[in-house]
């Protein structure tokens, strides 16, 4: 057997990854530039024995996948900027009720309707803080189709492991770009299946009582354990409470289950970092141009390196701090007015040495764009 090779869009790579991960239910609403994921699911999911539904909007799409997750299925939705804004309410619900689900946001230019057919990385902070109230979140990204596939599988694995929504933050450039994708053989990538309770019928099951390892085994709707699920603060039965201790314990649990695992959840790639004098930190489509510059300048003897982040949230501060330690300068490459750059500044020992290389006109940031900024930082002029 050999890997199946395809020439596809990034959005199709995401869909293939979801199918590989075992997605069983998908609800979505058409929006550029993510529609190919929804179209692909409509075509492929029923043949795989799953269910697809086109809902009336993005609000109902995320609500439907939460409902389907509770009956014991792996679930996903995909959208873009305006739709992602509409999903924040349901996303907060999934965080509070601890519902495994994957939400793909193929980023386009914003705010508002913005630039529907152009790339952007402007939703990074929305992914972190779009939901009202204190919370934590997992957000992954990828720069190539192979990585899109693998990060989609990772998103499902993390969602099921930690009973949490996971955001897959792709961008229009990668989503609509075509390149090679090799579909791994079944079993090649590990898949995490849902942890279900072994509490027997007739014995009290507590849906919101974490085990010693912090995990919460689930019971499917329709099964022998009947419990309440709510977006209100709740006790171990899932019943609403405003008891200060229970409220405090729950918000700490929701945040700590992610923030205490920041290094476990960190996914990243290192390029030429060992002897690098200057390091670029980038992610998604921008990392492709950054890597091009690094390789190009290496040939001219400049010791550049790249740290490509694939986990954006929880922000892998320790990894960034370690990779940037002692470097002359750190250049954060992203297609927004500066979002991850602030996290990098917080993480490193010398924030004054951190610079932003960006582009926010709807056009893809190219190697020459980055090179110009690099030369300014190096004092070589443009």
């Amino acid at each position: 057997m050999s890997r199946q090779v395809k020439f596809v869009q990034g959005n199709e790579a995401c869909m293939e990854g979801a199918l590989y991960a075992g997605v069983q239910f998908y609800a979505g609403y058409p929006i550029t530039p993510s529609s190919e994921i929804t179209e692909g699911m409509a075509m492929r999911l029923p043949a795989a024995g799953g269910k697809f539904i086109q809902m009336e909007d993005e609000i109902s799409s995320i609500c439907a996948i939460v409902g389907a997750s509770l009956t014991g299925h792996k679930v996903m939705t995909a959208t873009s900027g305006p739709g992602f804004s509409l999903m924040q309410e349901g996303l907060g619900y999934a965080i509070m009720a601890e519902i495994p689900c994957v939400i793909v946001n193929v980023m386009r230019g914003g705010p508002s309707t913005g630039l529907p057919t152009h790339g952007s990385q402007g939703d990074v902070m929305q992914a972190r803080w779009g939901v009202h109230g204190d919370h934590s979140i997992v957000a992954l990204t990828a720069s190539s189709h192979q990585d899109v596939f693998e990060m989609t599988v990772e998103a499902f694995n993390i969602a099921e492991t930690y009973r949490t929504p996971v955001i897959l933050l792709l961008d229009e450039t990668v989503g609509h770009m075509r390149e090679k994708l090799e579909i791994p053989e079944p079993g090649e990538l590990p898949l995490v299946e849902r942890l279900r309770t072994n509490v027997r019928e007739g014995v009290n099951y507590h849906p919101y009582l974490p085990r010693e390892d912090g995990r919460l085994p689930m019971s499917d709707f329709g099964g022998v354990h009947r419990f309440n699920v709510t977006g209100l603060y709740h006790d171990m039965w899932g019943f609403p409470t405003s008891d200060p201790k229970m409220v405090h314990d729950l918000i700490r649990h929701l945040i700590d289950k992610i923030e205490n695992r920041v290094n476990v959840l960190a996914r990243y790639k290192e390029y030429y970092l060992d002897d690098a004098e200057r390091v670029m930190v980038s992610y998604g489509c921008s990392a492709r141009s950054a890597l091009h510059v690094v390789k190009d300048r290496r040939q001219r003897g400049e010791r550049l390196g790249l740290l490509e982040l694939q986990t954006l949230w929880p922000f892998p501060a320790d990894v960034v701090k370690h990779c940037c330690a002692g470097k002359k300068s750190v250049i954060v490459v992203e297609m927004n007015t500066g979002q991850i750059v602030h996290e990098v500044k917080k993480a490193v020992d010398s924030p004054d040495n951190v610079f932003l290389a960006n582009r926010v006109d709807g056009e893809y940031i190219t190697p020459p764009d980055i090179l110009k900024i690099l030369r300014l930082i190096q004092g070589k002029g443009v």
Binding site: G49, K51, M55, C63, G72, R226, V229
Partner: protein, 267 residues
């Protein structure tokens, strides 16, 4: 099974005001479930936000207490992913037809097999007596201190127009009629809507000078009449009760099974 076996006694007393009509609806619902002989494990109660939505916590079924207006969207995910479950969605009038109006229309349009019980007390009770899309012109509310100029929806007409295949209306006075309708709605293979007019003595009654709870309940007897009655011909202002729509059309989950067959290369 005794009725009390269908409730979660440890979560009582409930949070409804004295005289609230929602308890009557809960009573009718449980009697309907009892008559149907359904297992508690095969019922999922999905609700949104508001006084009515709290029903889901009080019943010993699988219960999903969701976001304001979104109950039918969550319920759609539950039902389509596991069609063998009986999905019941208790909703308030604001929950169902203001913030959740779009989801209501589309659940009806799809004819997905679940039951929406719209508990219409013409007011937002939980937030303190603001007017709803069912309050209607002239109604008094905390956000309509000079009387409302907003026209009212008609739950039955909307459900019919959107494509619901079982549509009925009753009131908290007619508890046995409610039980029969909820019973039939749950049995119905398609999207069913039961509007139950309920009294909110705390806000709607007080603001509109309709007296105490008993006065409001008796009023339901006086202002309603069975569909097509002689009384209706003589007094067109009377609100009709009964089953307005009951028809068989393809149910959404069953239709999706055909999609799966087609996708797998059959047919």
């Amino acid at each position: 099974m005794a009725l009390k076996d269908y409730i979660r006694e440890r979560f009582f007393p409930h949070m409804w005001c004295a005289g609230c009509g929602h308890g009557t609806v809960l009573n009718s619902l449980l009697r309907a479930v009892e008559q149907l002989g359904l297992s508690k494990n095969e019922i999922v109660m999905v609700s949104g936000i508001g006084c009515s939505a709290r029903i889901s916590g009080y019943v010993d079924f699988h219960s999903l207490h969701t976001l304001h207006g979104r109950a039918l969207a969550f319920a759609t995910g539950v039902k389509l992913s596991k069609p063998e479950l009986n999905v019941i969605v208790p909703m308030g009038d604001g929950d169902a037809l203001a913030i959740g109006g779009n989801h209501f229309l589309h659940a009806a349009r799809r004819n997905i097999g679940m039951t929406a019980i719209v508990m219409n007390n013409k007011i937002y009770g939980m937030t303190g007596g603001q007017f709803s899309p069912l309050t209607g012109i002239g109604g008094m509310a905390t956000t309509a201190p000079y009387a409302s100029i907003d026209r009212s929806f008609d739950v039955v007409e909307i459900a019919k127009a959107a494509g619901a295949t079982y549509v009925a209306r009753s009131t908290a006075f007619h508890a046995q009629e409610c039980t029969k309708m909820i019973h039939d709605a749950i049995l119905h293979d398609g999207f069913s809507v039961v509007e139950i007019m309920t009294q909110c003595p705390t806000y709607y009654g007080r603001k509109n000078k309709l007296g105490e709870a008993p006065d409001m309940i008796k009023r339901f007897k006086d202002i309603t009449t069975p569909i097509g009655s002689k009384a209706k011909q003589e007094n067109p202002d009377l609100i009709e009760r009964g089953v307005f729509v009951e028809k068989n059309l393809p149910e959404y989950c069953a239709e999706y099974d055909k999609i799966i067959e087609r996708a797998k290369g059959g047919a």
